[in-house]
Symmetry: C2
Subunit: 664 residues, 2 copies
Amino acid sequence: MWTFEAPPLEYWKATYNFTPDQRWLDHVRLASVRLPNCSASFVSTNGLVMTNHHCARQCIEESSSKDSNYIETGFAAANLRDEKKCAGLYVDQLISIEPVTDRIRAAVTAATPGERATQRTESISAIQRQCETGTANTCQVVSLYQGGIYSLYRYKRYSDVRLVMAPDGQIAFFGGDPDNFTYPRFNLDLTLLRVYQNDVPFKPTDFLKWSAAGPAENEAVFVVGNPGSTGRLNTVAQMEFLRDVQYPATLAGYGRQLDIYSQLAKNDTASARRYQNDVFGIANSQKAVTGYRTGLVDSARAAKKLAFEREFRARINANPALRAQYGGTWDAVAAAQRQLASFNPTLRYHGFAGGSQLLTIAAQIVRVASESAKPNAQRLAAYRGPGLETIKAAVVRERNIDVAFERLALAAQLRAAQSELPAGDPYLVAALAGRTPEAAAAALVTGTSLTNTAARRTLIEGGASAVAASTDPLIALARAIDPLNRTVIARSDSLNAIIATNAELIGQALFAVYGTALPPDATFSLRISDGVVKTYPSNGTIAPYKTTFFGLYERSAAFDNKDPFHLPQRWIARRDRLDMATGFNFVSTNDIIGGNSGSPVINRNAEVVGLAFDGNIENVPNRFLFDASIGRTVSVHSAGIIESLRKMYDGGRIADELQGVARR
Amino acid sequence: MWTFEAPPLEYWKATYNFTPDQRWLDHVRLASVRLPNCSASFVSTNGLVMTNHHCARQCIEESSSKDSNYIETGFAAANLRDEKKCAGLYVDQLISIEPVTDRIRAAVTAATPGERATQRTESISAIQRQCETGTANTCQVVSLYQGGIYSLYRYKRYSDVRLVMAPDGQIAFFGGDPDNFTYPRFNLDLTLLRVYQNDVPFKPTDFLKWSAAGPAENEAVFVVGNPGSTGRLNTVAQMEFLRDVQYPATLAGYGRQLDIYSQLAKNDTASARRYQNDVFGIANSQKAVTGYRTGLVDSARAAKKLAFEREFRARINANPALRAQYGGTWDAVAAAQRQLASFNPTLRYHGFAGGSQLLTIAAQIVRVASESAKPNAQRLAAYRGPGLETIKAAVVRERNIDVAFERLALAAQLRAAQSELPAGDPYLVAALAGRTPEAAAAALVTGTSLTNTAARRTLIEGGASAVAASTDPLIALARAIDPLNRTVIARSDSLNAIIATNAELIGQALFAVYGTALPPDATFSLRISDGVVKTYPSNGTIAPYKTTFFGLYERSAAFDNKDPFHLPQRWIARRDRLDMATGFNFVSTNDIIGGNSGSPVINRNAEVVGLAFDGNIENVPNRFLFDASIGRTVSVHSAGIIESLRKMYDGGRIADELQGVARR
């Protein structure tokens, strides 16, 4: 995940015998654009922008007319007039990068950490404002190496973005949550947008040309996009906390939820179908967190990380100036993590993490009452400004509360709390009042009226006095928990602040010692990642470097076309049109993570060979330590995009445009 | 793996609501036949026999005419006259089972173990002879529960077996070694034979009808066949020896071989291609042994085994008679295993396990010389009777010895020996003579003339005096190792005899305590295994319960039709004829192991829904403790067989016969 400030030219030359010049780098940078949460790129002379289907869902939904649902049916504009404006959508193009570390350092002169933080924030704001003044640009100071260096990223923003083509949702997300984070894959996770200026298609100075053939096995390819967040500069102590405390607790919570769904489904096939999507969703999160933890548990990776940290600290300690500035940071982080670990169950249960929706609503009602009474600045962060109204609206929103689920969830949460908290814990005492978890949950869920929207509204509107007077058993419980919650959250916040401060110092230390030899953690800013299109050992055999349309039909037929492996009608009806052996998805060793969705995958000629949309299951642990041996980026194949456009979506016009074919 | 003596009727009723009557059981038993190394079944009224392609390779090879290679091209007889006799092949049908435990026990009256063993062997031979006398039957006393009970299995043998149909080898073994032991799979691992009597097709009393639809998801199915060998009654001490001593050594050996191939391939692409099959073969063995060990390392399985052994021993110890007879067996096994572990490296290196082909040949030459001089009865077992000539013939056989490989293999073997044996070990001293392993290997391989067939022949023909006079450095080394080898093998044999004796007692004890509630270990005799056609979690998602022809073409296209994923020409040319969504392979939870290859998979109507040919990678650890959660049997789908016959092999005649369709 190299920055465009410091591409590893020597490493690329040694590895791929590839030495892009500055023009190449500028070209791919300017051809890349960023969506609010994803990556994208210009892919035609007339401003076509390519991204993932899952990056443009809102636009696709909102472009649908009253009688249509483009998420379900897909959409391909027959001509320019047919292209649909995506309200509120914009793309940002990174037009320049400027170092501003010295300016920010010079502005930070105070002695106390709090004052320094304020000065830093103000300096960054000033730089950004100054950069934007008198222009239509958007400017952002990016903090690399956790504050090790600061760069000013200047973006040109394009705010007229229109929907050109989106496939059927079911082909974009074929295989659904089960296949998410896996490979072999068969997803046309594609949306084509177009940037307009003054109501005519924009002509970008730089766009990526198209590779009709797509990638060859073992070919070097580059992913250009905006990876969101990695934790590779975390200290060993931070990783151990995640590994031993946070992730196990999160996974236990998923396990409880899945147990509940399986209990509910056992005697009721209808509910099994109803819960299927929830189950898939949780299983998907479970997959991600299990994968993160796998990376942390992996002894080879852990040893590598430990060795790196030892060497890093030894270098800091060998230099008196660096030692004075940074020497104590690791121990400070470790001490804070140890403290956080010491009361983690209290934090989770007093903090309402997961479990019952009704109890969460009760807690919000109690808190809205007390926070509303305070001046804005003194409220808890989430209740400041528009936050308060957002929370109120959420509480009184009409919703279907699944009482059977709630009862089991509350019981499971209380039973887990009972096993993790000391016997006299005030939350447990208040919630159980001498009952078993199951009896308490039954009484609370049966006794509450919070399932009723009107009852919730009455309490929200009645304010502090209504809440204080309420005899609703869940409100009473929430009142009892509220002070416990405030105490434990405050304690946790102050320890996390210590960790954040020291993490920033460690980032600075890293940059001071290694410079740009190591790439910074992901910051949802433009990066370029190199890799190779490559098979890998999987499932006792070899996973192929690409998939084809045959595989799409295989996976559907092998599941008797059952959800989430059913094919859209169009793909059934038009199957014979396809050249079935056309490449559909492929894998490469590039290093990507959430935010990279929609990134173009290009060859050394800067031609699009693919569209990145996911990683394999072996890629998930890469969040904390990258390992290219089996982790892979999964992309849509450029040939599969063209074939789908032409054969399935009557999209010859669009395919020709991508391929640069002149049309009459 | 239930016996037909004691099918678990109550368990089947409770699990599947299935209660087959004795007729059903007799019918499927009589419809099943055994090949010399595999399982098979009658599948038509005219004596068609279905088995795997890999079970009939020799017949397919030998049936090929001078200008044809049916292994490569496949074969489908156009009519009865075209069916090809398989020389020497026979199938055995289990026509009756008779308990003979009491007869054998009564015959074993001696006091010493040696005499008892002789009496037992003689009693078994007598029973078998008596059973066969005056009939054309073959009889076999099967020792179940390691001698816990004995059953006399009477087989009717059919010796006129002809080849009816075999697919192209590449479709039978599509995916080759990489895909072996894995799923999803796409193999037409099928051969159809026909039993003849008096030159006309045999009409079996019992044959299995065909299910055109094949299995439904979650349907109960039964595999009827002859599982070869399992180690589930092994004691914990035996399993620990495999886990901690034997398998790690075996895996280290595979690792060394693969390292050598990768060294050889590094600078030489041509050799990389040449070695590919060897590499795949070793990787395949590595996969199997890694899988066995995975089952032993798995803490949940190990705990289950330990708990079982504790309970079992407690039951034995609670009964004074059983205790007196069996109480000491586990400790005796454990003591012998500990001794075997104590000199395991010596056994491996003095025993020539693996490594250099040249050194093995040298050792055989030296030993042929000394063993030939002895009376037959005093020779080492392998050199008795026709064994001696077999070994001689192997030594003088014309063969291509890969000198580059030999040199690296010998060096790797010596280096490994150096790290595992004490410094003064006489084998090491003789082999290295003060040199590094690499220098010694170079000198031995360069100096030897054993690469030359004539030189080998001269030594074999020259006998003891020629061998004693030889100055060939490998012969000299083999002469030095020979006495070491004899000593260590004798020591190992005597310890293994102790283990075998006690294992037999433990088998008897098991049967004494649990009766037939637990099935005996596999003995390559007829068993019936129940299971369910079922998906399983794999690779972060769900493995489907079946595959279709789409998947075959997918896997080939995804590897650009490269070996071992290339398709036979016929399958490329005739692709459009196929109904691509037809089931091709499927998985079920049945318990199978080597020997079950070729077993029919039947539904509760005793109709063929499939043909078992492999397990998934998760099934490999089941050798030692069965776990149906993710282990699966992999079978060819009955619909895929019919579709292949009709569309690819012009086999309408055969398909009609399987489906019981009358032809004019």
